[in-house]
């Protein structure tokens, strides 16, 4: 089982590393958010007594790039399904669960790497953090966000016949997950309704945990973030594996 999980994981990593133009291309959006919003809103945010917006925003943008990459990795199953490669894995004498675990770990690793690149870029543009032990939690949260949304993408992809529904998912799932999560604004001073909505958005806990690890400011508390992420990820992995088992090519 482990060699199989490993080789499926390795496949995702190789595909990622080989598509350099895709890596560079997908850095454009987070960079825009970071630079335009970070430096554009910075002075207003500071005047309002919110502190340094750029420092605040970095966790949100890192989480965003992980969210997008992870969801796409999950949804890539549709691709593999239409272009045949999925069949190659489905006729192999291997349990569906093993296949799903390998793919999901691969997708999550790729998304985490993408998040790391954005974080490095942020440091280059002036992001500073104190070197404390909680910083070690940052990669943990990044990987959890990646795992959660790869599993979600996989579950969604199992229910889609083709890419027709993709635009729908982009506009009604990925975008709301991102904008309502507190990635761009502090939940502490948000209207109550918005806070309540954010509570039902798993990305909120990811962003919040990452922010806690990076700049020591969190709304829900790192322990709560961690616990909720673990539970939601486990549930989504379970749903994903049930749906994946029922796929017929």
């Amino acid at each position: 089982m482990f060699p199989i999980i490993y080789i499926l994981w390795l496949r995702q990593i190789k595909r990622y590393i080989r598509s350099r133009s895709r890596i560079v291309g997908s850095l454009g959006q987070p960079l825009l958010f970071l630079l335009a919003l970070g430096f554009g809103f910075g002075p207003t945010f500071e005047k309002a007594g919110g502190g340094d917006y750029f420092q605040f925003l970095v966790s949100g943008v890192v989480a965003m790039s992980i969210l997008f990459t992870a969801m796409f990795s999950g949804i890539e199953i549709i691709w593999d399904r239409q272009f045949g490669f999925l069949k190659e894995t489905l006729v192999a004498p291997v349990s569906r669960l093993t296949i799903m675990v390998g793919r999901t770990l691969g997708g999550a690793t790729v998304a985490t790497l993408q998040g790391c690149i954005v974080l490095v870029l942020a440091v280059i543009f002036g992001f500073r953090t104190e070197l404390t032990l909680t910083l070690l939690l940052a990669p943990v949260f990044m990987f959890l966000i990646a795992l959660l949304f790869t599993a979600l993408g996989t579950a969604v992809a199992c229910k889609l016949e083709d890419m027709q529904g993709f635009q729908l998912i982009m506009n009604f799932l990925i975008m709301p997950l991102f904008f309502l999560s507190g990635a761009l604004f502090p939940l502490d001073s948000a209207p109550v309704a918005l806070i309540w909505i954010a509570r039902f958005d798993p990305l909120s806990y990811g962003v919040d945990g990452l922010r806690g690890a990076l700049i020591g400011a969190s709304h829900f508390g790192i322990a709560a973030d961690f616990g909720i992420l673990i539970v939601v990820t486990a549930v989504l992995l379970w749903i994903g594996s049930v749906l994946f088992k029922s796929i017929e090519a």
Binding site: R11, S19, G25, Q82, F83, F85, V91, P93, M163, A249
Partner: protein, 275 residues
């Protein structure tokens, strides 16, 4: 590494009253046939006749609505892994990972089928040699021609030494040279290794040349079975093509555009955008 044969006689595949419905549509309707160990069996039929659906049920990709299948002595419904180890398949659409090299595609297959490393590497070298891709083994398969991809897929389908090789329209879109080469190779495999071959094709002269026995399916039912000669005698015709037309009629079949066609367009846009 092929699975143990639980030989139950001369038939390696037996299909009994097989049926598959998708909602209102009956794709395969009460189909029965058998394939003998070591033969080359051609499964012919017009578009949408139920060929691919049948292959998908034989290869555990679809669950039959009713009826029974035995492949190499195993039931695809209850003993999936034993069945999966028994066959290799070349799908109608390419199923390589086109961002991996030829070597990596084979390696991945070998690991999926738990072929031990040393044996795997040995067979990979051999098979690449046989299909004439040794010098291209470290190239990404996206840059391969249709014929090269097909050859690589055949090599991959054989890597775990299957008892049955399924070829679902393997020559579609290939030039006559490659087609000829491919059938010669399949024939040789069948003779030398005793691998049973189950194939579908639209080219009647190919079926006529390579197949020991033929079954013709139309509207989800078997309408003729036997050797090429038997089919011609049955229908009182001179060529297999005429026999085929006599059995299935002259009407042109409507086939819904598969979602894959739409996807290909999307893929081009998508890739163009992302790369």
């Amino acid at each position: 590494m092929a699975s143990q044969t639980t030989d139950t006689g001369t038939d390696i595949i037996t299909v009994d009253h097989l049926k598959k419905t998708f909602g209102e549509l009956t794709a395969v309707n009460d189909v029965s046939f058998s394939v003998r160990r070591g033969e080359i069996f051609a499964f012919l039929g017009p578009n949408g006749a139920g060929k691919t659906t049948t292959i998908k049920m034989l290869t555990t990709l679809l669950r039959p609505t009713s009826g029974s299948i035995r492949l190499n002595g195993h039931d695809p419904l209850h003993d999936q892994d034993a069945v999966r180890k028994s066959f290799g398949i070349v799908f109608q659409d390419p199923s390589l990972d086109d961002e991996l090299t030829a070597w990596e595609n084979l390696e991945l297959h070998g690991v999926l089928y738990s072929v031990p490393k040393a044996l795997r590497r040995e067979r990979m070298e051999q098979l690449l040699e046989i299909v004439g891709l040794s010098d291209r083994k470290n190239d990404i398969t996206r840059h391969f021609s249709g014929g090269m991809k097909r050859r690589l897929e055949i090599a991959r389908g054989l890597l775990h030494h299957p008892k049955v090789l399924f070829l679902d329209e393997p020559t579609i879109g290939l030039d006559p040279q490659t087609r000829n080469h491919l059938w010669n190779y399949v024939g040789e495999l069948n003779r030398k290794e005793g691998i049973t071959v189950f194939l579908t094709t639209h080219y009647m002269e190919e079926a006529d040349k390579v197949a020991t026995r033929i079954a013709v399916i139309d509207h989800g039912k078997i309408v003729g079975q036997g050797s090429s000669q038997e089919l011609k005698t049955q229908t009182n015709t001179q060529s297999l093509e005429d026999a085929f037309l006599a059995l299935t009629g002259n009407a042109i079949r409507e086939e819904e555009a598969s979602s894959a066609d739409g996807m290909r367009q999307m893929a081009q846009m998508w890739r163009g955008k992302r790369r």
